[in-house]
Symmetry: C2
Subunit: 350 residues, 2 copies
């Protein structure tokens, strides 16, 4: 089962460096206690409230929306959504009446009964935070109008954890930074960004490792600056990271062309022929191939969809694609098979 | 420049395990002192004697023969002949009036003024020592008739080094033993063979390493047994090594099929796409591909000529093929290019 036209399919702005743009809003309803004190009955009432908003969301956003009782999903379905960033890892493990509102293209998700009553997320491919802001804003307005959010004139939106109070907004870019990682300048960059209140971290949140030279940058402060200010400041930083990464790639390719070319082609050859691939190895090799595509070293007969492949080879999504459960031993073989089938052929291969 | 139809092109008997069969005869002429005491004038006279035999060799063997003053060749031409086993490494470096008689298909070579006056070599692909024996015998008889060899009724053929006295014959099989190497049984095997007076060693003679799981087995004794006995005894040993290697491959493939399959396909992918390959790495990878071909894991659209590729990617032969001199930096890239162009495509690639 493969759903067509998820938000991440196709090409995005500055797609050589920026994989995706995301906004997350933390919101709580006035009428219920915060999640630490909410009763089971109130949790269930909140699910009903959220479910009843899908029609209004469809009208406002022009997308199809679904609601489901998230806690009744199979473990593998939950994990697949974590891998696609639709829900947070904590949410997937939470023992509560969790619910999920999701647009068909998965560009909008609303976790119900997460750490806050509602966690609204919006996504776009490439560097496109203004589109994501527009979309999350439409969702935010639609829900606020119907459900009424806890808001303080002085502090702004009130949240379970004080680090989210204020705008309740976290904006992040997922970035592919192979050249800055290669030169080791990524650590210097992380320190610089911290000075601007921007965190650089692994793609599955705090304390996760960078895999395949991918990381995310996001704002740390939610209280004080306005939503616009947060987004503009992150955008400025992202622009300079994009420029630095491109410059580092140019240097890398001009100074070490033959080494880089060899490494990129070897990665392609391994992906095209291996019969068993671990997930971290596969993502690293796919990253090399992406670098090959971005630098023009590899030319494909068809679209190389890095992010889509990276999602689909992860444990739970891979299992969803194959439609059957299987153990560790088989997983690496299914992963290699998926990659062989989906990695486009090269053109003008000398 | 690529010469067509060298002796090693095409398929040989038991070619999954035995790459080639070789006999080397050490011979000295009665009329000249042995090489330690031979004068420059006598060396030159010996060259003339050898050169004058080419016509008779052509008649007897039904092959074209050439003579050349070996010491006047370019360094790279000499090294290319060492790589193809036409001459010994010592011969290539010897500061003397060296000469070479060579058949067009390179199945017969005669080193003139090596450690002995003449070192006759004959080769055949696969396991075919009787053909090699027939061929070396024809050459031996032709030369003996014309030149007269130093022969003692008690000791047999007299040679510079006493270890060659008697038959002056060394017979050897070049063998591909990946499974016995993988299981570690190769060391046990070497010890067993020593008990039968058979040495197992690297392919460029004593103290050379096994590259790509290739080694050679040869008789140690030349004095005592007859030529026939030496060959029959080596043949018996070779048969049992072939059987052991095949059994080890069966166990390997049946017990670890998925690992071996993955490794073989990865090797193929690297060879097919790498832009830079060192010689030992390339031979190891080609050996994996050969194992894939032998076990039926890989099926080719065309012939996979392992030995021919292994020869052609070596330093001097690679340079001969490209027709130009170049440094180390370029060599790895030419090697990778040669392999990409000459490695056959797979059929039924899933």
């Amino acid at each position: 089962m493969e759903i067509k036209e998820r938000w991440y399919e196709g090409k995005g702005n500055d797609g050589d460096v920026v994989i995706s743009s995301r906004i997350r809003l933390a919101r709580n309803l006035r009428k219920y206690p915060f999640s630490a004190k909410i009763s089971k009955e109130e949790e269930i009432a909140l699910l009903k409230d959220a479910a009843e908003c899908t029609e209004a969301l469809e009208e406002k956003c022009g997308k199809n929306f679904f609601f489901c009782n998230f806690n009744s999903l199979l473990e593998n379905e939950k994990l697949a959504m974590v891998e696609r960033h639709i829900v947070s890892p904590n949410f997937a493990e939470k023992d509560a009446n969790t619910g999920l509102v999701l647009s068909e293209d998965e560009s909008v998700s609303i976790m119900v009964n997460e750490e806050d009553h509602l966690r609204i997320q919006a996504f776009a491919r490439g560097k496109n935070m203004h589109e994501v802001y527009r979309l999350s804003g439409l969702v935010d307005d639609t829900l606020e109008e119907r459900l009424g959010f806890a808001f303080d004139r002085k502090y702004g939106y009130l949240t379970s954890c004080p680090t989210n109070v204020g705008t309740g907004l976290r904006a992040s870019y997922m970035m592919f930074l192979p050249a800055l990682t290669h030169t080791g300048n990524i650590n210097k960059l992380a320190a610089e960004l911290a000075g601007y209140g921007i965190a650089l971290r692994g793609i599955y949140g705090e304390n996760t490792e960078n895999i395949g030279d991918i990381c995310q940058i996001s704002n740390q402060r939610t209280l004080g600056p306005s939503e616009r200010e947060i987004i503009d400041s992150l955008d400025n930083v992202a622009d300079s990271v994009v420029a630095e990464e491109r410059k580092a790639r140019e240097v890398l390719v001009s100074k070490h062309f033959e080494e880089i070319e060899d490494q990129i082609y070897r990665s392609y050859g391994l992906l095209k022929y291996a019969r068993n691939l671990s997930c971290p190895d596969a993502i690293t090799l796919l990253g090399q191939v992406k670098l090959g595509a971005d630098t023009g070293i590899l030319k494909f007969d068809g679209e190389f969809e890095f992010y889509k492949m990276m999602i689909n080879i992860q444990r739970a999504n891979l299992q969803m694609l194959n439609g059957a459960a299987y153990g560790n031993a088989k997983r690496g073989r299914y992963r290699a098979e998926y990659i062989r089938k989906n990695l486009p052929e090269l053109i003008n291969q000398k």
